[in-house]
Symmetry: C2
């Protein structure tokens, strides 16, 4: 009744437009909800892949953290089968640990981390990985994630049980306490999830093996669901070169980003903004840019108008600026790559190359490649292709990856491998490609394939060709040796028959026969060369 | 100095752990920042695709809004070239408009919309599309988005100039005013962006043409960068069936979601929770589920423990529950599809099928397929494949899409098209596949390809086979007719020669000759059959 009266007084209310009706349904979606519903984007398409993705995210974090603290990584990976399709996964490292107040956000809110805003080679980057593993665990089992982390032998370890509040993308602390832990420092995460365990090329077992090939300084102790303990021991006690953090290169900057940087920079004067916020802008380069763009060195960075920023960017693009510094990269190195591979595989030929760094969209990157041939590798099949990005094996979406594109578009016939159009070459060979970059352009959040940037494609092809040429020489030489060997074998086969014939015709005695045999061998051997 | 003293008093500060050092860098990343850096995930990989994506997102929104308000869509798409690689894109619709206070969030914050949480067929769903177009415009030109929206002839139009504050994923209002607008209602968006305009199969021109094929009730006025006006007029004034919103089906629910629903439901008693929050759970089905899971009808939904929820879900999976209601879908219809296609193309054969709806992961979906053959279609090339999802053309990532997989794995040789292994068939044919669903599982945020769900793949193949069989009959019959025609032609060619011969041998007169000709024709005609 009251309502009717109200409507009488305010006639506008009566005629509700469609827009007003629809407005009631408008609201924001949290990034957790988004990925919960789109979990295939994060690598949780199916139970087999889910198990791998969880292990991958946790191992990535463990390796990044230990390396960054300059500690030789010792990682435990334990997978227990609880029921047919439910598993408990435990990953433990000897890294620096995580400060108490950050633990909940690191593990139970998406897009939280330290790596997104810096330019430096690392495995993780988006702050999505480990929280998405927690999200998947929660989604399929409703269980909380159990975390222990300890940052110093002098401090107690912190224990957390966490949920993600998906509507808010915020951690929900179920339990929080101090515990004693035998370790000096490190982090341990325990998750329960619906999954499927299987062997094969995309298995956790194979993933961990590949991790140790490109990370020869890492030791992984792996306890599989059959309770077998497999130890992948480190091949070197030397830590990889520490990649340095760099500033963005001016050539890679986009107008929208430049405007935002201008507004928020702590360098208030335009010239000091240029020389301090970017790499490779010296004082004289800055002067050149300012002159071209008709702006003052002392202009207030935060008050640069849109059009002025556009002029500034145009001037930057027209100015010759050195390539970005390359110590932000930490490649594996061709020697170590070969050593690692030979440890795992028995091959007849193994050649690796580490290319000089190059740049795409202002981001430095570097390609490494290894080709192995013969030995225990299977013939009559497409070559094995191992893809790596920032030392992480890529096991899915091979056909969508630019590495595959580079391999397919290389002419392998001239390097001694048979290949039909638009296919991987065939033969007893293994091809390994590694891209190291401060920003690897993946085709999806699950980081399984690399997008087709022309600069990257070109560098991979050059690396493949460099190794390919050496493979070609090896295969050709080997063919020749094999042919010679065959001819030699003919001599050994035929001589006794000739001797038998001669014996009958000439009625030979043993000493004569021996002499004739020796002479015959020498003559045939000579004619063979 | 002061600092040294401080350290003396608090010795702990001296030995900063690595963890404490790293903690300084930890922070959350906004979803805008994330997609700004990963813009290829949203379809902004390159300037050509960027132009298409912007048009696509705006047209999707315009069509969704008008249809939802039961208005026949009249959409204006205008692309102006400002410099070689900079364009102004304007999209205007006659939809219901957007309520003033929601305009900034709808256009300038990611993951904001009305479609994510409901189950109902629509083009947009994630609340990402139009804001990501604004984000790309801002990133490449620094310009603000200009919006006009009007919800009723009696109200003024609202004009906004908007930026996205990417660090906060919040709109920044640059200008806000009321304006007069000749339209009764509608929305107009104007964006400036770096882009590239080109013709061809992935062009805006082709995209809009395809839109009108599967949306025959839409009229699009398109002004291209060459200032040519092209009008795609509607083929029908009938609006498509309005899809109804449905509740989630219990078979598609995951444990984590069930737990969250239990906690936040307005239905406080367990039984009423079950019957009200899901589709197809009647009172008796609810009783059955409760009995199996050993839970009380009156139990407090919000107090159900994790293990109880798990039992509940197990009981749901073990209970026979009807498939979800299917009025949430709005297919195009095979008749309309054929009519639309024939309007655009001259073909000899055209057959379409709309399959009955089916279900994957609890989500209803429906497949439609059309095959056209002959006429103006080119032979000796792979068939043209047109892919659609919820009436939106998919122009990119064809090889990653399950529609392509279905076409490739169908045996076209038995339907009269030649096909080599793992390839599209070859011939003068066009294959169109449409999937309608409340939740289309795309392989990335840019919504370009459909993920490989077995249920979806199977349905597409069945639809293809159904049309394929009819195509096979047509091609075989046509071959027979062609052969007969050839034989008939032989008769006409040969008879005069025979007559000439007979005339000379028998010295025939004209009347005899005519009689013989007639008889000969009859005999040969008879023998031909």
């Amino acid at each position: 009744m009251t309502q009717t009266k109200l409507t009488d007084i305010q006639p506008k209310k009566e005629e509700k437009t469609k827009a007003e009706e629809f407005a009631k349904e408008l609201r924001s979606v949290s990034v957790s909800e988004f990925f919960e519903k789109n979990r295939h984007l994060l690598g949780y398409d199916n139970p087999t892949k889910a198990l791998l993705t969880v292990v991958k995210e946790a191992v990535d974090n463990a390796t990044d953290a230990t390396e960054e603290a300059r500690i030789l990584p010792d990682i435990l990976v334990k997978i227990e089968r609880l029921t047919e399709n439910r598993f408990r996964v435990t990953i433990e490292d000897n890294g620096p640990g995580i400060v108490k107040q950050h633990i909940p956000s690191v593990f139970a809110s998406l897009l939280y981390g330290s790596k997104f805003h810096r330019l430096r080679q690392s495995r993780g980057i988006q702050g999505l990985g480990i929280s998405s593993a927690v999200l998947y665990s929660q989604l399929t089992t409703g269980k909380s994630a159990k975390i222990i982390s300890k940052i110093s032998p002098k401090k107690p370890a912190n224990y957390y049980e966490l949920h993600i509040n998906t509507l808010k993308n915020e951690p929900e602390i179920i339990k929080e306490t101090e515990v004693s832990w035998q370790k000096d420092q490190g982090t341990k995460i325990e998750l329960e999830l619906e999954a499927n365990y299987q062997k094969g090329s995309r298995s956790v077992d194979n993933y961990l093996k590949q991790v140790t090939i490109v990370n020869p300084h890492v030791t992984i102790t792996y306890i599989n669901p059959e309770n077998q303990k497999i130890i992948f021991s480190r091949a070197t006690t030397e830590l990889p070169i520490e990649p340095k953090q760099i500033k963005p290169h001016p050539y890679g900057i986009e107008l929208g980003i430049l405007i935002r940087m201008l507004k928020s920079s702590k360098y208030k004067k335009l010239k000091s903004f240029l020389t301090n916020e970017f790499s490779r802008i010296s004082s004289s380069i800055a002067d050149e840019i300012l002159k071209k763009s008709n702006l003052e060195a002392n202009a207030q960075s935060s008050r640069i108008a849109r059009q002025e920023a556009e002029n500034l960017l145009k001037a930057i693009k027209e100015t010759k600026i050195r390539a970005p510094p390359l110590d932000c990269l930490s490649p594996i190195g061709s020697e170590l790559l070969q050593k690692s591979l030979k440890k795992e595989l028995n091959v007849d030929f193994c050649e690796a190359v580490t290319r000089s760094p190059s740049v795409y969209r202002g981001f430095p990157f570097q390609i490494e490649c290894l080709i192995a041939y013969g030995g225990s590798l299977e013939s009559d099949k497409p070559v094995q292709l191992l893809r790596f990005a920032n030392k992480v094996p890529l096991l899915y979406q091979q056909s969508a990856c630019t590495i595959t594109k580079a391999v397919i578009s290389t002419k392998w016939n001239s390097y001694g491998l048979s290949q039909s159009k638009s296919s991987l070459p065939t033969g007893p060979a293994l091809i390994l490609v590694h891209i190291a970059s401060v920003w690897v352009p993946f085709t999806s959040e699950s980081k399984e394939a690399i997008a087709h940037y022309p600069e990257i494609l070109k560098e991979i092809k050059l690396a493949l060709q460099e190794c390919g040429r050496k493979l070609g020489i090896f295969i050709r030489r080997n063919k020749k040796v094999a042919q010679e060997q065959k001819k030699k074998e003919y001599i050994t086969i035929f001589i006794p028959h000739i001797l038998t014939g001669l014996r009958e015709i000439l009625n030979l005695k043993q000493p004569q026969e021996n002499k004739i045999e020796k002479n015959l061998k020498e003559i045939l051997e000579k004619s063979r060369q």
